[in-house]
Symmetry: C3
Subunit: 263 residues, 3 copies
C-alpha cells in the first residue's frame, strides 16, 4: 500500500521521492510511515547523497498537510492519534538532521504539514502559485511547538508569529522575500529540473565536513523534537483540544466545505 | 488620577486604549500602574478580543518613554525606583503574553520605553515620521536585559546591536525594512483607521488555537522577564549606575535641554 | 617577530591595527598570538575607545584565514594544534566582548578565519570585491561550533546554513543584503576613510552604558566559546578529522593548487 503512495527514482548520487496519494496528498498515518521507511532506506544506501521531495499529483498541490481524518475525534481515538503523532514528528525530526542533502520541490498548495515537511529540508524551491504557512489556528487548532520553533529559525520571530498567530498563507514571491523558500521558478515545468540542478550544485562540496556541521547545527532541536516522552505528553494535550466539542464542530465545517462540488 | 492619563473606547470585540499625559506621555509610576490595571480589566472582559494602544496627544508623540524623574537619583530613591521597575517590567512582560491581540498605533516620537511598549504588541503600525529605538546608551544608561532580548527577537541580532550599542533611532521607512514595524501608513489621520482595519482582519481567525500558540511562543521569555527576584536584583544593579555622579550629571544635561523654550 | 606582522597606528581615541603577513595574511599561531597581545594592550589603554582591523597587504586580501600549515597533520602535531586552537578561539571570544568598539575594514578575500575575525567585530565595512564565508566544508573540514553560532546570530539560520553547509562565498553586494556587512564602499581607497568616519560616528555616544549592554548581549556566548576544557575537547575531536587520510589528501590538493604560479 505504501508503494502506491510513494515511488522513488534513483539518479546518479541522489533520489527523487515522489508523493502521490490522490486526491490531495493528505498525510495519514500510512503515508508518514511510508515516508519514514523510504527515507531510512535511502539513508542506508551509501551511493545516495541527496533526496528531492516532489509531488506526483497532476493538480497544483505539494501536499494538503495532515489528513483531517487523523485529527477528527469521532473517526479516530487517543491511541491511534498518539501513534500518528509520534510517527509523523519522529520522521520530521529525523529528516531535519539527515545525512542526506534534502531539497523540497514545492508546487501549489502546501499548508501546515506540507510546509513543515519542506521546513526540515536543506533547500526549498517553489512555483509562484505556492501557498505556504502553518495555518492550524484558522481551524481553531494549535501548531505543534517544534514546528513553530523551526519556522522561527527559518524566517525569524516576526514573520513566524504573523504566519502562526494569524494563519497567514504566503505566496511564492513573498516566501522568497522572507526566506521561507530559497529559490523561485517560473512554472511547474521548471520545478523539478531546477531542483535537480540545485542538488548537483550543492553536491559539488564533499559530504564529510557538511554532515558533521549539519549535525552540530541541528541535532539539539532534532533530539528534543523527537523525544518519545515529550511527544506522548504533547499528543495527550493536543487530544484534549481535538476532542472538545468546539474543535469537532470546526472540523465538521471543514468537511462540509470539502464535500462541496468544485473544490 | 489614572483616569486623566488613560481613556478607553470600547468597540465591537476590541478596545482602543488612549494614552494622554501632557506634555509628552512620559511614563511615570502612576502611568505604568494605570496601564497595568486597565489591561487587566480588558483581559477580564470576555467580549474584548483585542486592544489598540494609541496616543491621544495632539503633538506627534506616541510616548517619550520613561519619565526621567523616575530615573534621576536626586528626585527619587532606591525603594521608589524598585517599585517603578517592578510595575513597569511586570506589566510589559504580562502584556507580551496577553490573551488579547495587541496592536500599537505609533505616531511620531517613540524612544526607549515607548518602543518597548510597542515591541510587546503583536502588530506595530506607524507613521513615516516615527522615531523608534532603545536609545538609553546615549544618556550613559543601559537598556534593560529583556528589552534587548525582545528587540533581538523582533529585528534580529545585527540590527538590534546597532540600535542598542550606538543609540540609533529608526524612522518609519527603515523600521518597516527591518521589521521593527509591520505596516507603514502615510499620515497621522490614516493611523487609527488602519489599526482598526488590521484588528478586524486579525480577528477573523478564532482565538482558541491562537492563544495557546502565543503562550507557547512567548511564555518562556515573559516568565523570566517578570520574575520578581530577578527584577529586584536588576533594579538594585541599575540603581548603582543611576546614582553615580556621572549619570546624575548626564541627566542634569537632559533637564537643561528640556527646560529650554521651543523643545 | 610579531612586530613584523602587525603595526598599529594610534589616532585620537582609536587605533588602526594593520595586519601584514606576506603573501596573504594567513593566520598561524604567531599571528593569532600577536593579535591577542596587541588587543590586550589597546584594551589596557584608557585613551583608546575603538579599534579598526585593516589589511596592510597590497593585494586585495583581508586575510586568507587560518594558515593551512597549522591544519596539515604531517607538518604539525596534536599538541601544537591544540595550542593553536586555544589561542585563536580565546582571542576571538574575548574580542567579541571587548570593551573597545571594533570595526573590520575588509577588502577582497576574506574566507573562514578572516570572516570569523570580522564577525566578532561590532561593525563590518567592505569593498564590492569582497569574498566572505565559512567555507571549511569545501575542503572536507568542519566549521568550529561557535563560529557557526556566531554566523547564525549575524545573518540568521537560513543564510548561515547555506554558507556553512554548501561552502557558499558571498560578495559585497550580497553580504550587505544579508547583513553579513553593515556598509559597502565603492573602492579600496574609500575603505579606511569610511572606517574612520564610522568609528567617529559610533563614538559620539558615551562608553559607560554601551560597554555594559555589549557585555549583557555577548558575554554568554563569549564565555562558552572561550571555555578552556570545551576548547580542549573540541580540538581533540577536530584533530581526528585533520589526521585522517582523506583530509590530508584533500589538503595535499590545496597545496598543489597554491604552488601553481599565478594564484
Amino acid at each position: 500500500m505504501s508503494k502506491q503512495m510513494i515511488f522513488t527514482e534513483i539518479k546518479k548520487g541522489y533520489a527523487i521521492l515522489n508523493i502521490k496519494r490522490d486526491p490531495v496528498n493528505s498525510m495519514n498515518l500510512a503515508l508518514w510511515q511510508a515516508l519514514s521507511s523510504e527515507v531510512k532506506k535511502l539513508e542506508a544506501d551509501q551511493s545516495i547523497r541527496a533526496v528531492i521531495f516532489n509531488s506526483a499529483l497532476e493538480r497544483p498541490i505539494f501536499t494538503a498537510g495532515n489528513d483531517i481524518m487523523e485529527l477528527y475525534a469521532p473517526k479516530t481515538n487517543l491511541e491511534r492519534f498518539q501513534s500518528f503523532w509520534k510517527v509523523q514528528n519522529q520522521f520530521l525530526a529525523s529528516l531535519y538532521n539527515s545525512r542526506l542533502t534534502t531539497v523540497a520541490a514545492i508546487n501549489g498548495a502546501c499548508p501546515a504539514g506540507g510546509t513543515c515537511l519542506s521546513l526540515v529540508c536543506d533547500y526549498r524551491i517553489a512555483t509562484p502559485d505556492v501557498s505556504m504557512g502553518l495555518n492550524e489556528v484558522a481551524l481553531g487548532l494549535t501548531v505543534p511547538e517544534y514546528w513553530m520553533k523551526l519556522l522561527v529559525k527559518v524566517v525569524g520571530q516576526t514573520y513566524a508569529e504573523k504566519i502562526i498567530l494569524f494563519a497567514q498563507m504566503v505566496n511564492g514571491k513573498k516566501a522568497l522575500e522572507i526566506n521561507l523558500i530559497d529559490r523561485l521558478v517560473e512554472s511547474r515545468e521548471a520545478l523539478l529540473p531546477a531542483a535537480e540542478e540545485t542538488v548537483k550544485q550543492l553536491l559539488k562540496t564533499p559530504d564529510s565536513g557538511r554532515v558533521i556541521c549539519k549535525n552540530i547545527l541541528r541535532e539539539p532541536l532534532a533530539k528534543e523534537w523527537g523525544d518519545e516522552s515529550r511527544l506522548a505528553a504533547e499528543s495527550a494535550q493536543s487530544w484534549k483540544l481535538l476532542s472538545s466539542p468546539s474543535t469537532v464542530k470546526s472540523l465538521d465545517g471543514v468537511f462540509a466545505r470539502l464535500s462541496k462540488p468544485k473544490l
